[in-house]
Amino acid sequence: MTPLLKVQGIEKRYGARIGCRDVSFDLYPGEVMGIVGESGSGKSTLLNCLAGILTPDTGEVLFEMRDGAVKDTVTMSEPERRMLSRTDWAFVHQHARDGLRMNVSAGGNVGERLMAVGARHYGHIRDEAIDWLGRVEINESRVDDRPTAFSGGMQQRLQIARNLVTGPRLVFMDEPTGGLDVSVQARLLDLLRGLVREMGLSAIIVTHDLAVVRLLADRLMVMKDGHVVESGLTDQVLDDPQHAYTQLLVSSVLQV
């Protein structure tokens, strides 16, 4: 098996400050990797570099395309990268507003991504949109409502539907459950887990919530001050942390 994503020596600086530095890893098809660390540790910078939102100063992000060719997404042309982010990639933002078009109906939000990859038949697009709303547990009767009329949890689920409708192979998630209350979080996690398994998705999830990574991620990377301080199997890193910072992180979680 060859890796879906091969990341080598990623570094991003903001002037003299280090965003993230010397990050390398391989992600295989079907793998879910979590990235944890406190705010300012560089985890979101890294995610944005991987997803083509920021351009890293050095390093390669090699992605295996559907035809098996391996391309460096850092150096590929802008139209090519945009096509990738509409088809094989998906990005779930922490704030649903950043990933949705707030003045377009829920059905339109899902359908738009389909149209971007060439779907033209209105009936089919609408049916597909309704099907996806159902999968993320949004009632069909809400298909013509705008996301502004949705609760935070519903907006987040709509964002996920919009992202997954084109059958991406790699999903980037930035704090997908941040800002949601606990019961909504559990529902969203259950949903994400099911979708990841059914569709065989690979995913990279940035979060500061260790319970989220324990449930969703196969592997874990712990970041501090822009560096990866520890990585490995999720339950191993959480149950037998080796680095001082990870030990601090794990022991700081409040017990319910």
Binding site: L233, Q236, Q242, A244
Partner: protein, 226 residues
């Protein structure tokens, strides 16, 4: 099936004065197919630590752990996950599940993960839940709301759903009534009969004598305080 050689483990507590605690040194263990080996020793001797190292949950400081030819101490995360999916089962003392998932699906999940058809997996799950006396009206509910004993039996059903060639059992009969204890012991005997290699921790001596072929006292591998 399970081969352990010269295994040692230390814990370094960086945030508590960088104390280094050696907990195991030079551990050796070999379990063949169809064998059940009990780990014994006082509380704190390292029984669970050893079991967690075999499962890849704890990192070994040095030595080797071969499970069906895969060295767990060196394997990549995805290789360990693959091993856990197909080869190595683990029945822990506590059930850890996603909220909201019905009991029947919790038990069927390990089978779905190895590609068994949904209906066949559910049939097997129904069969196990019936044998472990979980009332049918509870199957569609999430086990998070069950009593401790019920959760443990769901955990056992889940652990025995797929026929793993190697299994780790952490106190599988603790806090079970006589009838359920009997069911669990026969599940272990059936697993042995089909050729599973089993490592178990049993505080229940009668159970240990009945299903285990050998006992390993892990306290002989506990480093003596200098």
């Amino acid at each position: 099936m399970i081969e352990i050689s010269n295994l040692s483990k230390t814990f370094t507590l960086h945030n508590q004065g960088s104390v280094v605690i050696p907990v195991m040194q030079g551990a050796e263990l070999s379990v063949a197919r169809g064998q059940c080996v009990a780990l014994t020793g006082a509380s704190g001797a390292g029984k669970s630590t050893l079991m967690r190292m075999i499962y890849g949950n704890y990192l070994a400081a040095s030595g080797h752990i071969l499970v069906d030819g895969v060295d767990v101490t060196k394997a990549e995360p995805r290789e360990i996950l693959e091993l856990r999916r197909h080869t190595l089962g683990y029945v822990s003392q506590f059930l850890r599940v996603v909220p909201r998932v019905p009991t029947l699906d919790v038990v069927a999940e390990p089978l779905l993960a190895v590609g068994v058809e949904t209906e066949a997996a559910r049939d097997r799950a129904r069969d196990l839940l019936t044998r472990l006396r979980i009332p049918e009206r509870l199957w569609s509910l999430s086990p998070t709301s069950f009593s401790g004993g019920e959760q443990q039996r769901v955990n056992i059903a889940r652990g025995f759903a797929h026929d793993y060639p190697a299994m780790l059992l952490d106190e599988p009969t603790a806090s079970l009534d006589a009838a359920n204890r009997e069911t669990v012991l026969s599940l272990i005997e059936e697993a042995k009969a089909r050729g599973a290699a089993i490592v178990g921790i049993f505080h229940d001596e009668a159970a240990r004598d009945r299903v285990c072929d050998r006992e390993i006292d892990v306290s002989v591998y506990t480093p003596k305080a200098a």
